[in-house]
Subunit: 237 residues, 2 copies
């Protein structure tokens, strides 16, 4: 516990952006290769299949965040995230869009949905996200979502990169990435407003920065697992 003076809102945001920026998974070698166009079809498929597990954890962690708030106004705002992923009806929402992406890269959607082939390292990392959100105070759980600061950029670059380098992926199946550009911008604005209002002591601010760092490590570990499995296919391990 530090007795240092609290950071000003501007300095706090700058620290969050700086610590997040240098650890965000767009710098991961596997991710660099994805956007350079040097992944094979199998590697793209492995990423889509494994990342789906992450996608399935999002509404779960958002429901935990909901359950930690006493404030109907906050809950009304945050609930939109669950609606964004689950949709308002069958076939709508981010999870359904990711399933169409899985189809678009040539995967068997039922196998993807079964989560059978998700790599252990991917499970551990994504489950660690749910655990972080469950065990830490609400403001830190919210802060861990601030990777969305960087998400509109990565999505915009991803759409261009995939259209250029992986023309075998049907363009209309990239809808998930397209929709995230605007939503991530809104979501990160809501989250940063909440964090600025509720982490006002220095040690709370530091714990929020830590939560964001942990979240970056989670996204990084997911890519480590996918990348290692691609380099050393089953049987070799």
């Amino acid at each position: 516990m530090t007795t240092d003076a609290a950071l000003s809102p501007d300095d706090f945001v700058a620290r969050l952006r700086e610590e997040g920026d240098k650890r965000y998974h767009d710098r991961h070698p596997f991710h660099l290769r994805m956007h350079e166009g040097s992944l094979t079809r199998e590697q793209i498929q492995a990423w889509v299949l494994n990342r789906y597990y992450y996608q399935t954890r999002i509404p779960i962690k958002d429901a935990i965040i909901l359950s930690k708030s006493d404030d109907p106004t906050f809950r009304r705002m945050w609930m939109q995230r669950i609606v964004d992923h689950d949709g308002k009806a069958e076939g709508e929402g981010g999870l359904a869009q990711w399933q169409r992406l899985a189809e678009g890269v040539g995967l068997d959607v039922d196998e993807v949905k079964s989560l059978r082939r998700v790599l252990p390292g991917v499970r551990f990392a994504c489950d660690a996200y749910v655990t972080l959100v469950r065990e830490q105070p609400l403001v830190e759980a919210v802060a861990s979502s601030l990777t969305e600061f960087f998400s509109p950029d990565i999505m915009t670059r991803r759409i261009a990169a995939w259209e250029t380098h992986y023309p075998w992926v049907r363009a209309e199946t990239l809808a998930y990435f397209r929709n995230r550009v605007t939503r991530a911008r809104d979501d990160s604005r809501q989250a940063i407003d909440y964090v600025l209002a509720h982490a006002t002591a220095r040690d709370q601010q530091e714990r929020c920065i830590e939560a964001l760092i942990t979240k970056c490590q989670i996204l990084w570990a997911l890519l480590d697992a996918v990348s290692n499995a691609a380099a050393h296919p089953r049987g070799e391990r």
Copy 2:
């Protein structure tokens, strides 16, 4: 763990109804007096103020239930309960309606919302509900909501009783009770369908019955606390 044969769906529903019915809080002496019209204004106020704490726990326990499900279809259905209590906008939904009820019985709404005067025994009971939902499997958490089987009846009787016996409560502030008649009917139908589909082994069925019994004990303990405090005002204890 029992090795007895699973109950048929009809027998399982009958057991749930029977065990719930004989323990439901409409049989509590304080509740009987409420509907007979023999509570004082202060007792009605104490009930409204304390029961508000229970109301505030409902969206929290429903968000925990959401977070326990992997199924977007289930989550879409269950999320409606949170919307019912939080509303789609400020001033809407069950919590806001309960605040108007608090106003209608002459309470200071800000004090009610502050939860400052909630009795310890009421907190313990309501928090036990949140804990049950957090710690037990999803199907048992859902089963604990089946007190809503009995809720349409109690609400219908309550509206009539209050209009007759407590004419000093403005009738339009009874909206919460009115809205619950239909919603509780829909909610309990959804919950029983889920429980019948997912508790198919006998010991799961028995644990669901236990969860419903515990929930009845929680509602009962809430009334015990309110009733005892009314009989022995502060200072005497």
